[in-house]
């Protein structure tokens, strides 16, 4: 009997082992072909060498690949867009400034702008109860959902629990890395959870707020929120590198994503692992630093929203636990060594992005990298990393 059992075990392990290690996808270099005009790319910019050196330095420290766009409003040189590192490590394809990448939560600024446009058109009032536009099924079991206003959702003062920090969600999403999540499945992880505080009494970042805002946009406009983004933002601003994941979750030409899961600068590909944010307005944006710059500038110059809406968007409030960060509507003000930065960052599994504006210097910087977690975040996403990038741009 023992011998039979042991043989059975060996057969089973042989079967398992025979399908053990998979090589990453073979992708033709031409798959990543893209085009950015010379005017937009601006490789003749007087600071090209300085800017490119910054990107090369970050790649030389362990960032797989990076794209960046910089615009200095004090000169007449126009925006500069550059890239360094690899778009695809397996196939040794270099990153180009016109590639596309996941930019995660930066979409929240797009969501906020859309809601502010709807408010400008009188289709909603920011102080309406969100529950006017949300179904009972959507709000079921979510504390504060019936009491919070649209403005409180936008500025993260609703107190509503952030589904993404629920450990049950985190383990479930890791357990099934290829799962594509629908909004109600995500909201289930906020149901039955205590709110963080009474609406309007404090601030705390919550992705759940922006799932609700996406549903509010759909309720008012009668179409998917990402279609509304296309009509109101992508097309008018000619954001040629921007799309929403729901339309094509993993476009063939998206740069490969990588995670440094064990914090050893040893990365594995994770391009297909971001299925939790394909269909909700808290993430899921696919874009490029140039388009993020165009979008951010359109807000600062009041072309995509009115000056009045911009003033509303930038009525800063700070949470009780942190005086250094200031919440607006879909935007943050962060204090840096170089003055205030208006900012939003985002990430997906294997991707991270940031867009920021320095009002004192009138400088825009946006970047996207195809790697995160472990030691990579410290190079591009943490405060010190951002200050390093700013320092090397404004010097």
């Amino acid at each position: 009997m023992k011998t039979t059992c042991i043989r059975t075990l060996l057969v089973l392990s042989t079967i398992l082992n025979s399908c053990a290690v998979s090589e990453d996808e073979i992708v033709k270099e031409s798959t990543y072909d893209c085009f950015m005009s010379d005017n937009t790319s601006n490789q003749g910019h007087p600071k090209h060498v300085q800017y490119q050196a910054l990107l090369d330095e970050l790649v030389g420290k362990g960032v797989p690949g990076i794209m960046m766009t910089i615009f200095d409003g004090n000169d007449n040189e126009g925006p500069w867009s550059g890239a360094s590192g690899m778009a695809d490590l397996k196939n040794r394809v270099s990153m180009k400034n016109c590639n596309i990448s996941r930019v995660g939560s930066t979409v929240k600024m797009f969501t906020a702008v859309t809601v502010l446009q709807l408010a400008e058109e009188g289709k909603l009032n920011l102080d309406d109860l969100a529950s006017q536009y949300l179904s009972d099924e959507t709000m079921a079991g979510i504390e504060n959902a019936h009491e919070a206003t649209v403005r409180q959702l936008l500025e993260h003062s609703s107190g509503i629990y952030n589904y993404i920090i629920n450990p049950h969600f985190q383990t479930a999403s890791l357990n099934d890395l290829l799962k594509v999540w629908k909004p109600n499945e995500l909201l289930d992880y906020a149901r039955g959870k205590n709110a963080n505080f009474e609406p309007g009494t404090d601030l705390d970042y919550s992705n759940t707020n922006y799932i609700f805002l996406g549903e509010i946009i759909e309720d008012i406009e009668g179409k998917p929120f990402y279609k509304v983004f296309e009509e109101r933002i992508f097309n008018p601003l000619d954001l040629a590198f921007t799309q929403f994941a729901a339309e094509s979750p993993v476009p063939k030409n998206i740069v490969r994503g990588y995670i440094d899961l064990y914090s050893k600068l040893e990365v594995v590909e994770s391009t297909y692992y971001s299925g939790w944010d394909y269909y909700t307005a808290d993430g899921g944006l696919i874009s490029n630093p140039y388009d993020l710059y165009v979008f951010l500038r359109s807000i600062m110059e009041h072309s995509i929203i009115s000056e009045k809406s911009f003033q509303i968007m930038t009525q800063w409030k700070s949470p009780s636990y942190d005086d250094d960060i200031h919440y607006g509507l879909g935007i943050f003000k962060m204090e840096t060594k170089f003055g205030d930065a208006y900012i939003h960052s985002g990430d997906a599994i294997g991707y991270a992005a940031t867009m920021l504006y320095l009002p004192k210097d009138d400088i825009y910087i946006s970047w996207a990298v195809n790697g995160n977690y472990g030691k990579i975040d410290a190079l591009t996403q943490e405060l010190e990393a951002m200050e390093h990038i700013i320092a090397n741009v404004i010097k």
Binding site: P64, L89, V268
Partner: protein, 198 residues
């Protein structure tokens, strides 16, 4: 298109299994064999049905105390886990188990354990070397894994305490460390279906 190739350590796995199992063949200790599904789960959460992250386990145990109702024992086991997207792992574990014997050969089982797990990636690894990333042969990662388990068993011959037994167990275990600076430790669960032979 994904290409498959046999891992360099496959032979090593067979050698380890051979040396580990040989004493069991010779000795009089009972042998446990089991298959299981691993999931990333919070402690005490119900078993997850999918996706399937299969594993096989074998081991043996030594009885410390046994009466008509109670049995305590120490077991040692080795297992192999295959998570299609993240890793495969070899685990060696030591467990302190307790069975409460019920009527008709049934039993309630619980146990605590500690173990060592060595994980190997199942995807290609790109390692940063001085200025750029390049493909690297994986040496794997070492893990400490404390565990707690609950289950039920059924002896084939209800009146014979030495009889073969079928059991199902839910084992919750922590992977320490997991992702330093991101998720320090990760909780898992194995849903185990096994048999113990005298």
């Amino acid at each position: 298109m994904r290409n498959l190739k046999k891992p360099w350590f496959a032979k090593g796995l067979y050698i380890i299994l051979f040396f580990f199992l040989s004493p069991f063949v010779m000795a009089q200790s009972p042998v446990t064999v089991a298959v299981f599904n691993e999931s990333t789960s919070m402690p005490l959460s119900p078993p997850k049905i999918g996706p399937f992250h299969p594993g096989v386990l074998t081991g043996s145990d030594i009885t410390l105390y046994e009466s008509d109702r109670n049995k305590t024992y120490v077991s040692i086991n080795i297992s192999y886990t295959f998570h299609k997207k993240l890793y495969q792992a070899i685990t060696i574990g030591l467990n302190l188990g307790y069975d409460y014997k019920m009527a008709y050969g049934g039993s309630l089982k619980t146990g605590i354990g500690i173990g060592y797990m060595h994980t190997f990636p199942v995807r290609e690894i790109y390692s940063f070397q001085s200025t750029e990333y390049g493909l690297k042969k994986a040496k794997g990662n070492s893990r400490f894994i404390p565990s707690v388990s609950f289950g039920i068993g059924q002896r084939f011959s209800p009146n014979d305490f030495k009889s073969s037994e079928l059991f199902v167990q839910q084992q919750y275990w922590l992977e320490i460390p997991y992702s330093p600076g991101f998720i320090p430790n990760m909780s898992h669960a194995n849903t185990i279906l096994g048999a113990k032979f005298p």
